[in-house]
Subunit: 234 residues, 2 copies
Amino acid sequence: MTKDDSSQITERKRGSGVKLVYDLLRDEILDLKLSPGSAIDEVQLAARFGMSRTPIREALVRLAGEGLIETLPNRSTMVSNIDFLGMPAYFDALVLMYRVTTRLAAQHHTADNLVVIRVQQAEFSAAVAAQDALAMIATNAEFHSAIAAAGRNAYYGNFFDRLLGEGRRMLRLYYQSYEDRLPPRYVDEHEEIIAAVEARDVVAADRLGKAHGEQIVEQIGRLLTRNDRIDIEL
Amino acid sequence: MTKDDSSQITERKRGSGVKLVYDLLRDEILDLKLSPGSAIDEVQLAARFGMSRTPIREALVRLAGEGLIETLPNRSTMVSNIDFLGMPAYFDALVLMYRVTTRLAAQHHTADNLVVIRVQQAEFSAAVAAQDALAMIATNAEFHSAIAAAGRNAYYGNFFDRLLGEGRRMLRLYYQSYEDRLPPRYVDEHEEIIAAVEARDVVAADRLGKAHGEQIVEQIGRLLTRNDRIDIEL
DNA sequence: TCCGCAATCTTTGTCGACAAAAAAAATACA
DNA sequence: TGTATTTTTTTTGTCGACAAAGATTGCGGA
């Protein structure tokens, strides 16, 4: 199809191919470079990466395990569609995880956790200043992931990471609703969260996590119902 | 190693092999028929199932994606160990999911959901009566999974299913603490939950879900600290 | 022209074989 | 006897090839 593959036929170390394909495809899917519903051809990928179908296949199996691609038996495999009907459920879960992870971080964090969190916050702040939407999504996810890590619950952590990953495509809409110019208020909110965590103020952490999450929900809701609203508000 | 494989060399339909191996291995791992840490040999499995290594490999990749097996690069793959240190975190997440799913079920269930839930409850009740620990674990999981399905949130549902699955090995300890003779009280608790869901009583559903979950945590705690207690109570 | 059927094409699922990597065994040397 | 090095063995990762299952195309008959 496209011929602009930068055909890197470099020698790879044994076992590195799968991760390479997996990471790249995952990013391309989540950044919407591969549009939902578009077909995925194994032989084409094999040619593009200069390897056999076997490692490609393994990467695809893993992506399917995360629900990022769907496999019709004996037939095509394609990038999964964004489940718009499931968005309320998604944001419900996201808000709950915001709350739980922030709350746990306030309880269980150590000094080095705060260092990591501050680094991520700095990167997020830089992305907002640079108006780089993709970077904002990624660094925001890493910020909250760092907070989740400080909460010391691997089960919440995995689930949260999964949500943040799977939601990158939805979150993209959210950032687009600001035309990629996120108000600096969000950077401040992160700062408040850090302060609450550092002070081990569980109640404040919970409240801020909830507010932070619900703000996103509201903005998305505003985006999705914008047309309706215009009708209603006559 | 063992030679007692009932070598079923039956003809399989194309594409069914992976699921077969995946399901069977998963069950064997979760029922502790394959002990944590034991090695997994691809060629041996291939011989046992009468198929090539390729579909075996795909099943293993999926199991690894769920964290049920661990893969040392270029070296052995083995059944993952049970993370005892992570048990508090596990049960924390489990209780929260009990609460959330029960609560949502009270809000969003439909009539056919209740039918399914009652069927699962009947099977759970039968398993308790028969003192079949493995069946109790499986049917209990299916009962709560049915409740989660009634809650209409796929994200919670997936996470909850994953927790219930991954925890089957831990839960086994829990049932062993009763020597596989679960008090009928648990069957009654399920009945109460059903009643609260049916009455759309969100508050009661939340409270019952929480109590149900915390009871399990207490029993596990009692099991794990039993020796210490004897020392302390002199 | 339209519908049913057969031939062809495309893409997946599976296989057997081989090479690389790590461990285990064997050998040489002090 | 103990240790370092080489050889063998074991097990994984990758490959190219082939067969099966749909989809597509082409053809013939009404």
